[in-house]
């Protein structure tokens, strides 16, 4: 059964709000803390920096996809 656009929009808006709160926390704490360490790596060893950069973006890609899928499931369960 196809969902109504209004119901999908409502789910996404709720998901967006929860996600925005989590992202603010993540950017302010985790990414800011990583900043100095990554800058040090960039200055001293480009090879280590390149490995760390690749691992971080792949890790974040997988983690955020899991988070958005989970949020969407929870929000849809509550709105239906």
């Amino acid at each position: 059964m196809e969902e109504k656009p209004e119901s999908v929009l409502k789910s996404f808006l709720i998901e967006l709000l929860v996600y925005a709160a989590l992202v603010v926390f993540y950017v302010l704490l985790v990414i800011r803390l990583l900043g100095n360490w990554l800058n040090g790596l960039f200055e001293h060893s480009k090879t280590h920096y390149a490995i760390a950069a690749l691992l971080l973006i792949i890790g974040q890609g997988i983690a955020l996809e899991m988070l958005t899928t989970l949020l969407l499931k929870l929000v849809r369960l509550r709105t239906h």
Binding site: Y19, V27, N39, A50, A53, L56, I57, I58, L64, T68
Partner: protein, 316 residues
């Protein structure tokens, strides 16, 4: 927020919002969105060599999940993907070396040359997509007219919009008999020269290494119209290939000091949610009209780059 690696000061809200819009467009139109991501970074003062490398890193984070989903749907031709990886990586390296050469001439040269090339590519994409969707719409209208005369025969053929408009080009490529010839079962191609695949992927790789992003805007149409790969397999295989080649590109550019991973990480937080919203929206829109709606987007990207070039904001 200060980004120490690229020596820039950008609001994280700007990056997250830009990422969100790029992710949404990517999810909706099935493209990486580097035509907006690159100009968006350039517009806030990120030097062009960092724009290229950082955009590649951001693409890795986005494509890895999409590729996994397409693999589960059976839309990935692994044999084609691995062959294309070889051509793309060689191309990416050539593109990255091009940036290195330009860096020796100074940052202003990098910004100017990459910026102008970017504008030319964006205008070409926009013109091509407008022309292609117009052709498809025209063809569908003709088919619709015929189907009214012979009721009940056109529902399936009307969906195959791009099939007949460019099929002759792919047939010509298939007729090139330079060995080794290979068979691509998953793509339904009986025989094609290995060199044709490597050539297409190499050119896409140069665009990717020189302009950043996954260069799906070049490789995707090339796979469909030149190699004759079905569109859904082309999308899945392109994503699979982009994960590997963009990872290589990120690593290569990071070694050369062209990646600010902090910018990529912040931007990607917006892209992850935007991609879901964009993908979910596609169930309410269909056909070449979507591609026609895509036409202004590269033009926006081109306008931002032209503004950056003319205002000299990045000419450090």
């Amino acid at each position: 927020m200060d980004f120490l690696i690229s020596h820039t000061h950008i609001s994280p809200l700007y990056l997250v919002t830009a990422g969100f819009i790029i992710g949404m467009l990517g999810g909706f139109f099935g493209v990486g969105g580097s035509f907006i991501a690159g100009p968006a970074l350039f517009a806030v003062g990120v030097p062009m060599n960092f724009v290229v490398g950082t955009d590649l890193a951001h693409i890795v984070g986005k494509s890895i999940v999409a590729a996994k989903k397409h693999r589960a749907l059976g839309n990935v031709d692994l044999k084609l993907g691995f062959i294309m990886v070889a051509g793309t990586i060689a191309g990416v390296e050539v593109g990255a070396q091009g940036i290195e050469r330009l860096k020796h001439l100074g940052q202003a040269s990098v910004d100017k040359v990459v910026g102008i090339t970017f504008v030319i590519v964006l205008l070409s994409i926009s013109a091509f997509v407008a022309w292609e969707s117009w052709q498809t719409l025209k063809m569908q209208r003709k088919r619709g007219g015929k189907s009214k005369k012979s009721a009940g025969t056109s529902s399936k053929t009307a969906d195959k919009g791009d099939e007949s408009a460019f099929a002759h080009i792919a047939q010509k490529v298939h007729s090139i008999k330079i060995p080794p010839m290979i068979k691509l079962r998953a793509s339904g191609i009986k025989e094609i020269s290995l060199w044709a695949i490597l050539g297409v992927s190499f050119v896409g790789g140069i665009f990717s290494g020189f302009l950043g992003g996954g260069a799906g805007y070049v490789r995707m149409p090339s796979m469909v119209y030149l190699l004759g790969v079905p569109t859904h397999v082309a999308v899945g295989t392109d994503l699979f290939e982009v994960v590997i080649s963009a990872s290589y590109g990120t690593f290569s550019h990071a070694l050369k000091g062209n990646v600010d991973i902090m910018i990529a990480l912040v931007m990607h937080t917006g892209a992850a949610i935007g991609a879901q919203l964009g993908a979910a929206s596609t169930q309410y829109f269909h056909g070449p009209k979507i591609r026609l709606a895509f036409v202004p987007l590269p033009l926006i990207g081109a306008a931002i780059v032209i503004y950056g070039l003319l205002s000299g904001k990045n000419m450090k």
